[in-house]
Amino acid sequence: MNWKHKDLLDLDKLTAEEIKHILKTAAPMKEILARPNKKLPTLRGKSVVMLFYENSTRTRTSFETAAKILGADTSNIAVAQSSVSKGETLLDTAKTLQAMKVDLVVIRHGSSGAAEFLADELSAGVINGGDGQHAHPTQALLDFFTMQERLGELQGKKIVIVGDVLHSRVVRSNVLGLKKLGAEIVLVGPPTLLPSEMNYLGVKTSYDLDKELPGADAVMALRLQLERQQSGLFPSIREYSRLYGLSQERLRQTGKDTIIMHPGPMNRGVEITSDLADSVQSVIEEQVTNGVAIRMALIYLLIGGTGSVVD
């Protein structure tokens, strides 16, 4: 398959075939990750810039590692996110990056649409590393890769996603992609974090986790921003955990060898009990490894040209 997209902003513009092609490309990348010598010459001379307006050491390191393994040069522009400060605007930054003739920019930004805004300005490729509450396509892709490794084809698989659906860009990208791959998705959370407008996603929503667990092939807990309690979105962490926290006992209701996922970082004892997080059912660490593989695949597809992956 010839890759034809300049950017990866979200999964809405990708076909199921294109998503599968990314997952397929990630498989040999993961093998490379397991090698003792993890340095390829493939992208030698290419430059990848990390433009992180939100702190996320995990995501940034994952992208950086991926780019470096492929032989690209990486640089970091860490920008303190402040929408009111009068500093350089995103547009100015875009112009600077354009002048530096970089090949690929990974952007993480607190405002929805920031990645698309940058992509419109740059001839370089742009990967959305998370924008506002809008999209987080690489997280979704690594989730699919992880699910596929454990569950096989995702067609017809039941995926339960539980937590703060309203504020989660992970959910949005996951649902867009999983629908294309033919999975059955159920979103679960309290009404304040799962308001009716989320119906736009066109999947089942529910307030009752225990009712949705039977038959689930994968259960994904979302990270809860604990400070949302102060905004009145839920009454207490204790009650949240009682209603929507994942535990081994609760997971027995699925009646299957269900896999447990979490985009991290976890609030242990809130979204998920520690013993479950560290159990054999948990693929949370695998998600991190697969994150590098997926990002290698994407960087390769966006700026690697048409040559074979490993030569």
């Binding site: 995103l90 649409g113 920031a114 924008d131 506002g132 809008h134 949005r172």
Partner: protein
Amino acid sequence: MLWIKNAYVIDPAQRLSGINDVLVKDGVIVKSAGSLQPADVLEALEAQRLDDVLQVEGEGKYLFPGLIDVHVHLREPGQEEKEDIRSGSRAAIKGGFTSILAMANTTPIVDNRALTEFVRLQGERAAMAKVYPIAAVTKGFLGKELVEMMDILDGGAVAFSDDGKGIQNAEMMRLALEYAKLAGCPIISHCEDDSLAGHGVMRKGEMSARLGLRGIPASAESVMVARDVLLTAETGGKLHIAHVSTKESVQIIREAKKMGVDVTAEVNPHHLIFTDQDVILTDASYKVNPPLPSAEDQIALLEGLLDGTIDMLATDHAPHTWEEKTRPFAEAPFGINALETVLAAVWQNLVLKGKITPDQVIALWSLNPARRFGLPGGTLRPGSQADLVLFDPEYREMISAETMETKSQNTPFLGQEMQGFPVMTIVGGKIRMAGRKLLDNKEEA
């Protein structure tokens, strides 16, 4: 002296709607009647020779009283890089507005007589559209103390509003409505409950969820509309509700009018033309406050406009610099630039589509605002000020930064060709714009 011939004259105040001639002398309308003969004209104008009378051919065009916009942000003093009173009043003339009401949310806020007079005088110096100041309701928009309404009224204010912010404290609003009875003019309410609006940037709904933008629920507006209507009923004050944008607000205002509450309301054309479905993540031109409504709201707004629940159109012209609007959606300021494009936008999207008649547009944008705010103009009745617009429904123009008089370009119509523009604007008998060119020389009629 002016003789405008054979134009399709619309003057709802006189129930005039048809081909007529209009005569102007000494800044005043002298006559509007069916096609006149030179002898009638000389007699009516008390002129000796026809050479002394400027004759304007109006065939194929509409002639109506100058539009009056009760909701304009001119940004002076303090933010002249966005707009100033001169550029804003020039833009108004280009757009067919002979009178504009300037909101008080400048820097500093217009909350005293000196600043009120400054705004009025800057308008006079610009000598384009008439500029009427609206002063703040509370000092510094802090919602704590009333401004000196009577003194400010002497300085030229025609209404009071903390527009840009809702008055959060209900008792403050009650006192304002009560005290403004002295002034006899309306309190204009920007209905927005801060606790409900939060940090939202567009209307809360499936589209905001889809785009991952924080939503502002419709209740952020309608809750305060209900409050203010109740307070107006209780105090017997005069209330004007700015930029109505939800169906619940329309229902509440409709019921309030039935109950005899002295309330009027305006709607912005952009709320009648766009919905939240039109919002584009990378174009902050669509970021306005109140936010673009749902399709259902839009239907209710149009119904309200047609059944008299909503009394007038108003632009909420809110210029911002290009730099400010060229930001990710959530970070850009709210506001749309409207004065020069809005009539064409209404013409194309509402009149040509048969949703509203030209006569209704003029009643809503000239007669009703003049009546509610006690302003001259609004009609072509003999003896009235000669504020006139000659409008060519066929005239096409490309909207670009170069052709606009306003300093800002935050309009979704930028780069588009639009149809239906004023080709002559006359204020107090003086031609301020002809052939789409502003005339700075004081040509007497």
